[in-house]
Each structure stands twice: as structure tokens, then as C-alpha cells.
């Protein structure tokens, strides 16, 4: 872990919040291929960090590294240090399950369980003992679906399979599912990619609201969205974390020319 002292995170501490998640020199390999080349970044409590960058640059990989979802990929190997509240999350004594309960995740491809919508939502709360009675569960289902803006569309078919929903509906279902367990950190991998503007607005509101109590990292390809919802933005390029800083600054005055190129590309 000597690399930790090497490069101090290159970000200005604009918030007074404590660091929630911190990555130091994180390298990720898929077999022989290196997908991340030493990423250093801190995520502060109660902030929204946007991860942007061209497709295939390693955003999802980084996100999956934070809650150790990469453990499930045989060929994937992680180096470096990632801490949650100061504790190394790759510490062998650490309980991954608890970690994942604390760091929720919405995946890039919606993956509802082949169960009913209702069961999809209460799965997490049941798992973590957040509720025990039927009416508590009902309440959780309703609030979660409402937060994800899906309630009206599915309230009459809560007991139909979640896999029978439209793409955007599935995505919102997965968001509702993740929110239902109220994790400390929520990782969202392009949560609005399949959503129309109204649903997107809804989710963005939700993110704003969640920020009050949680820490959020969100991958997005939509610059406006990044600008709207995030306090800080990290720009990835070909496995490198090129730049991380206040969103405003990144969008108005990027330090790196690659960032500049990406931001001011034809589609500002």
C-alpha cells in the first residue's frame, strides 16, 4: 500500500463532509487485460459523484469494484486499496455480504428477479430484517415504487412477474429494489439510460432526495444529467481516471485536455 502516499488525490476538498469511500491506486484486471490503471478518488458523505467517460473506459468496472461485485467474475483481479468509512473493503475479515448491504447497486442491464414485482421489492428488506409484518412490507413496496416513479404503472399488477415489464419499467424496478434496503452508499450504473425524460426527472429528484441521507455514485452518459445531479464529477478515459473535481469546474473549466475534448465534443 505504499502507493497510497505516492499520489495524493488530485481533487480539491470542496466539501466539509467526511470521506465515505476512498480508492487508492485501484487497478483491475480481466485476465491479462487491465481495465483500470490505478484510480485514486474519494467519495464524500452525502454527495453525488458522477462518473463519466466514453464507453468501455472502466466506469462500470470501477463501480463494481466498490461493492466487490467483481468477486463473481472469475477472471477479474483487483489491486490497490478501497476503503469504506476508513476500513479496507478487501480485508479478508470483512463480511462482503454486509458490505453489499451497505453499498447498494443498480446494474447497467436491468436484472429483475424472475419473481413478482412485489417480491422483487421486498426481497432486500426481508433479507435484512427491515420489516416483519405484511403491512410494513406493503408500505415499503409502495414507497419504493413511488420513489422510483413506477407505482402508478404497476400498482394493479404487483403480483405479476417483474420480467414482463418494459425496459424502462424494469430499470425503475431495479432502482426501487435497491432503494428499498436503504443502503449507505448507492452505486447507479446508468440508471436512466432506458428512461424517458419524465421518468428521468423523477429519478433525478429521487437522487437529490437520497443525497440527504446517503452517498451516491452514478454513471451517466448524459452530461446534462451529470451537471444537474452531481456535486463532483470524475472523468474516466481508457481505464484512467483523468480528472475529478467539482462538477461545475469540470464542465466549465476542465484541467485535462482529454476531458475538454470529451465535454466540448459535438454534444455539449
Amino acid at each position: 500500500m505504499d502507493s497510497m502516499t505516492l499520489n495524493k488525490p488530485e481533487q480539491a476538498a470542496t466539501t466539509t463532509q467526511p470521506v465515505k469511500v476512498s480508492a487508492r491506486d485501484v487497478k483491475v484486471y480481466y485476465g491479462a487485460k487491465r481495465a483500470l490503471h490505478g484510480v485514486n478518488v474519494d467519495i464524500y458523505q452525502n454527495e453525488v459523484l458522477a462518473l463519466i467517460g466514453p464507453s468501455g473506459c472502466g466506469k462500470s468496472t470501477f463501480l463494481r469494484t466498490i461493492n466487490r461485485m467483481n468477486d463473481t467474475i472469475d477472471i477479474c483481479r483487483v489491486e490497490g486499496l478501497i476503503t469504506l468509512d476508513g476500513h479496507d473493503i478487501y480485508d479478508p475479515r470483512l463480511d462482503v455480504v454486509q458490505l453489499r448491504a451497505r453499498i447498494g447497486m443498480v446494474f447497467q442491464k436491468p436484472n429483475p428477479f424472475p419473481k413478482s414485482i412485489y417480491e422483487n421489492i421486498i426481497y432486500g428488506p426481508k433479507l435484512h430484517g427491515l420489516a416483519t409484518r405484511k403491512d410494513e412490507f406493503d408500505a415499503i413496496v409502495e414507497t419504493s415504487l413511488k420513489r422510483a416513479g413506477l407505482w402508478n404503472e404497476v400498482k394493479d399488477r404487483l403480483h405479476e412477474p417483474g420480467t414482463g415489464l418494459s425496459g424502462g419499467q424494469q430499470q425503475r424496478l431495479c432502482i426501487a429494489r435497491a432503494v428499498a434496503v436503504s443502503p449507505e452508499v448507492i452505486l447507479m450504473d446508468e440508471p436512466c439510460s432506458a428512461l424517458d425524460p419524465i421518468a428521468t426527472a423523477h429519478i433525478e429528484e429521487l437522487i437529490d432526495e437520497l443525497r440527504e441521507s446517503f452517498t451516491i455514485a452514478i454513471v451517466t452518459h448524459n452530461m446534462q444529467q451529470a451537471a444537474r445531479v452531481s456535486q463532483r464529477t470524475a472523468f474516466f478515459h481508457l481505464g484512467d481516471l483523468v480528472e475529478v473535481g467539482d462538477t461545475e469546474e469540470i464542465f466549465t473549466n476542465p484541467r485535462d485536455e482529454r476531458t475538454q475534448g470529451y465535454i466540448t465534443g459535438r454534444y455539449g
Binding site: D95, V97, Q98, K126, L127, H128, G129, L130
Partner: protein, 487 residues
């Protein structure tokens, strides 16, 4: 307090532990279950497992040790007078003399045989069946029988005490440890994981057991017949002498014809079963209406359950004559015990191995892959052949392997239909024999039990084991190479 009852009590304690652990977890959480490290159920399971498992192991260990220990104690408790009284009635004069000469030192006087005989009498007495015991010895043995019963009661109560103490203690201890910080889930899951490991190791133990039960006798066989002759000999004719004054005719132990026979029949079986099974599976999962599928699949599964003896009859009385008649009509002489008949019938038997298992894995391939292919303008069959089947390949290969295995290991059909003639041929119309047939017919035959012929069974089993092992290693490599992970 019988053992069954003890186990019952143990079960009860375990269940009670579950309930106690659960409620205590809820209690320490003060109703706010979410503050617990794990869900209450895990605290319950934690207590239940610790209360139940160690004590259960104790019971099992005790069950294994109980009889020998108690019998030893009972025999030890017999007085020389009692032994003498028994021996005078039960033993032949010559034996009686030797016994009486040593009667002072009981341990020496009683041979293993005597002990066994005594035990039968004492056991029958203790079980309350004096009518089965020679009336003359009842008096002498009655104390021993009473002793035995007494010991049993004592032992059962002791066990009961131990079990209750152990289970109760574990219950109390684990129960007292329950706190919101206790990592109950991790603890339970570790135990469960170990149980899972234990289960998968059972398969390994089985293999070890098989190798062990084959190995020693095989080694004895190979001292009589050279390994090279066995492995590479082209002639199998175990007509060794049944009696010493007979001549073991050719008595050749070249196993090659048996292995080619086995492979020939298994190949024929697979030629039938693989396409029929796979095409059935494809048709059922991809084309057939749901109703047809839910009807036909179980019907095909009946094929796997028809007793192999029945298939044997079917082969020899229906299929073989049919094949022979067809052959005769075409002017080809076909043995009435052709490999073809046995193979075809065996193929029919293993069809469901392929069809049902493959059907399941094909059904499990996600619809989105089919959509992707159909969307590109592929026909259904193209989609199946090029997308669905490759994606389902590991499961299909598994099904095929299972079917091949079944074909190689099957005994009764070939015993009846393929005959016993060890011809070295690849002609499916000839009669061949297989390893399993030889094993079966030698084992239940009337021969002497430590002749080379009998021992050859074990060598056959061992070599077959090694051959299939090699086949499996190859198959594993293939699957690993071609596996396509979807999603």
C-alpha cells in the same frame, strides 16, 4: 430410554433452540430487528445447529461402538461355571475338553466361534425369546442375558444423559451469546458450507471405497495373471477349472475383447440415444406446444425406469429376432445375440437421460438470445443449432456423458441380449460380450471364490473404472474449452 427416543429428544431440543434463539434475538434487538447483525432466523438456526449437530455426532459414534463394547462386557461377566454349563450342552466332546482345560482363563478358553454362539443364545434370551434357546442352557445364561439388558438400559440412559447435557449446554451457551453483534449468519453459513463440502466429499469417498474394494483383489489377480496379458491380450476365455482335477481350458484373460465389446455396444446405444434424445429434447422445448411437452416428457421418462431385466427380454425376444429376420431377408447372417440388438435397446433405455436433461438446459437458455437470432432473420432451426445449443452445451454434454456412463455401466440388458461370447470384433451384427456381463456372470456363477476367474472380476472393474476416468477427463477438457457463458 431407547435411542430413537433420545434422537427425538435431541430433535426437540434443537427445535426449541431455534425458537429460543430467534425470540432472544428479537428481544435483544428491542424489536428493531434491523439493528441485528443477521435476521432473527439465523440466530435461531445458530442455536439449533450447535445444539443439534455435536450431540448427533455423539449419538452416531455411540451407535457404532455400542454393540461390540456391550458384548465384550457381557462375555467378560460370565463365570466359568456358566460357561461350562453352556459348553457341556452345546459343544462337541473334543472341543469341550479343550475348553474345560482352559476354563480358568476364560479369555483363552472361548474361541471366537464360541463367543459368537454364546452371543446368539444370550441375545435371544435377552430379547425375550427363550423358546429359541436350548432349554438346558437357559439357566446358565439367564444372568448374562439379564446383565446384557441391564447394560443396555444403563448405556441408553447414559447416552441420553450425555446427549441432553451436550445439547442443552450448547443451547444455553449459544443462547447466552446472542447479541446484536453476534455474526449468526456467518456462523450458520460456515457450518452449512462445511456440510455442503461434506456432501461433495461423499462422492469422493464412494470412489475411494470402490477403488479400495477393487484394488486388493485386483492385485491378487495380477499376481496370477500378468498385467500386460490382461490389458493387451486379445483373447478372453475364463474357462479355468472349477475343480482342481479339471483342466482350465484356454483360460485366457485378455480383456481387450471385453472392452471393445463394451465400447461397441455403448457406441451403438449412443448412436440411437444421442440423436433421438437430443432431437426429442429440442422438439419438446422449442417446437412442441406446452401441453404436448408436459405430456411427452414424463412419458419418455418412463423409459428410464423400465427394469433393465425387462429390456433384456425385449431385446432378446422382440428386437433380436426382428433384426435377424431383416438380415435374413437381405441375405446377411446375423447372430441372434447381436451387439446391435443389445445396443439399440440400451439406446432406447437411455433416451430420457438425454432428452429430459437436455430439455431442461435448453429451456433455461434466456429468451433474449433466441430473440437476437430470430431478429437477424434466422429460422428456428438455425437459431437452435447455432445459438441455443452452443449456449446449452455444457448441460447437453453432461447429459450425454451421463447417458454414455449409463450405457457402459448397464448390466442386465447385455447379460441377456449380448451374450457371453468374447469376440474381438467391431461388427455390430456379431455377438460380443461386455465387461459388466462378465462381472455379473462370474460373480453369481458357481465357481470357486478365489480362483483367477473370480478375481478377474475385480481387475475388470478396476480397469473399466480407469478407462472411463480417462474418457471423463477428456470430456471435461472439451467442455471447458467450448463452454459459452451467456448473459
Amino acid at each position: 430410554m431407547s435411542v430413537t427416543l433420545t434422537v427425538g429428544v435431541l430433535l426437540f431440543l434443537s427445535l426449541a433452540g431455534f425458537w429460543l434463539g430467534r425470540s432472544r434475538a428479537v428481544a435483544v434487538a428491542g424489536g428493531r430487528v434491523a439493528t441485528l447483525h443477521s435476521v432473527p432466523v439465523y440466530y435461531g438456526s445458530y442455536v439449533a445447529l450447535w445444539a443439534g449437530l455435536p450431540a448427533l455426532v455423539l449419538v452416531l459414534a455411540w451407535l457404532a461402538l455400542r454393540s461390540p463394547v456391550m458384548e465384550w462386557l457381557v462375555l467378560d461377566g460370565l463365570t466359568p461355571d456358566q460357561v461350562e454349563a453352556w459348553a457341556r450342552v452345546m459343544l462337541a466332546p473334543a472341543e469341550l475338553d479343550t475348553l474345560l482345560a482352559n476354563i480358568a482363563d476364560e479369555a483363552q478358553a472361548l474361541t471366537q466361534t464360541h463367543r459368537q454362539l454364546l452371543l446368539i443364545n444370550i441375545n435371544n434370551l435377552a430379547a425375550g425369546q427363550p423358546q429359541y434357546v436350548n432349554a438346558a442352557v437357559i439357566d446358565a445364561l439367564a444372568p448374562a442375558a439379564a446383565h446384557l439388558n441391564q447394560l443396555r438400559t444403563l448405556a441408553d440412559w447414559t447416552l441420553f444423559g450425555f446427549v441432553v447435557a451436550l445439547a442443552g449446554g450448547a443451547l444455553a451457551y449459544t443462547w447466552s451469546r446472542i447479541s446484536p453483534e453476534l455474526r449468526a449468519r456467518n456462523n450458520v453459513e460456515r457450518i452449512v458450507t462445511w456440510l455442503l463440502i461434506l456432501c461433495s466429499v461423499i462422492a469422493v469417498f464412494t470412489t475411494v471405497g470402490i477403488v479400495m474394494s477393487l484394488l486388493f483383489e485386483s492385485v491378487r489377480f495380477f499376481t496370477k495373471v500378468p498385467v500386460t496379458e490382461f490389458l493387451f491380450g486379445l483373447h478372453w476365455s475364463p474357462q479355468t477349472a472349477i475343480r482342481a482335477d479339471q483342466v482350465g481350458s484356454s483360460g485366457a484373460f485378455g480383456a481387450v475383447p471385453l472392452f471393445t465389446g463394451t465400447l461397441l455396444i455403448a457406441t451403438i446405444a449412443m448412436i440411437v440415444a444421442a440423436p433421438v434424445g437430443l432431437m426429442s429434447a429440442i422438439y419438446l422445448s422449442e417446437y412442441a406446444p406446452k401441453r404436448v411437452r408436459s405430456l411427452v416428457k414424463p412419458v419418455l421418462e418412463i423409459l428410464a425406469g423400465v427394469p433393465t431385466v425387462v429390456y433384456g427380454f425385449f431385446a432378446i425376444l422382440t428386437v433380436a429376432p426382428f433384426i435377424r429376420d431383416v438380415g435374413a431377408a437381405m441375405g446377411i447372417p446375423i447372430s441372434s445375440q447381436s451387439a446391435l440388438a443389445a445396443g439399440v435397446v440400451m439406446g432406447v433405455m437411455i433416451v430420457p437421460f438425454v432428452s429430459s436433461l437436455a430439455d431442461d438446459v435448453i429451456t433455461a437458455v434466456p429468451q433474449s438470445l433466441r430473440d437476437g437470432s430470430l431478429g437477424l432473420g434466422a429460422t428456428r432451426s438455425e437459431t437452435i443449432k447455432q445459438v441455443v445449443l452452443p449456449a446449452a452445451l455444457p448441460g447437453i454434454v453432461g447429459a450425454m456423458l451421463l447417458a454414455v456412463s449409463r450405457a457402459i455401466g448397464e448390466t442386465m440388458i447385455v447379460v441377456m441380449a449380448a451374450g457371453l461370447q468374447a469376440n474381438l470384433t467391431l461388427n455390430p451384427l456379431a455377438s460380443v460380450t461386455t465387461v459388466t456381463v462378465q462381472i455379473k456372470s462370474i460373480l453369481v456363477g458357481d465357481q470357486e471364490f478365489d480362483s483367477a476367474k473370480t478375481l478377474s472380476v475385480f481387475a475388470l472393474g478396476l480397469v473399466l473404472f480407469l478407462v472411463t476416468l480417462a474418457l471423463n477427463v477428456i470430456a471435461l477438457r472439451i467442455v471447458q474449452k467450448y463452454r459459452e457463458k451467456y448473459d
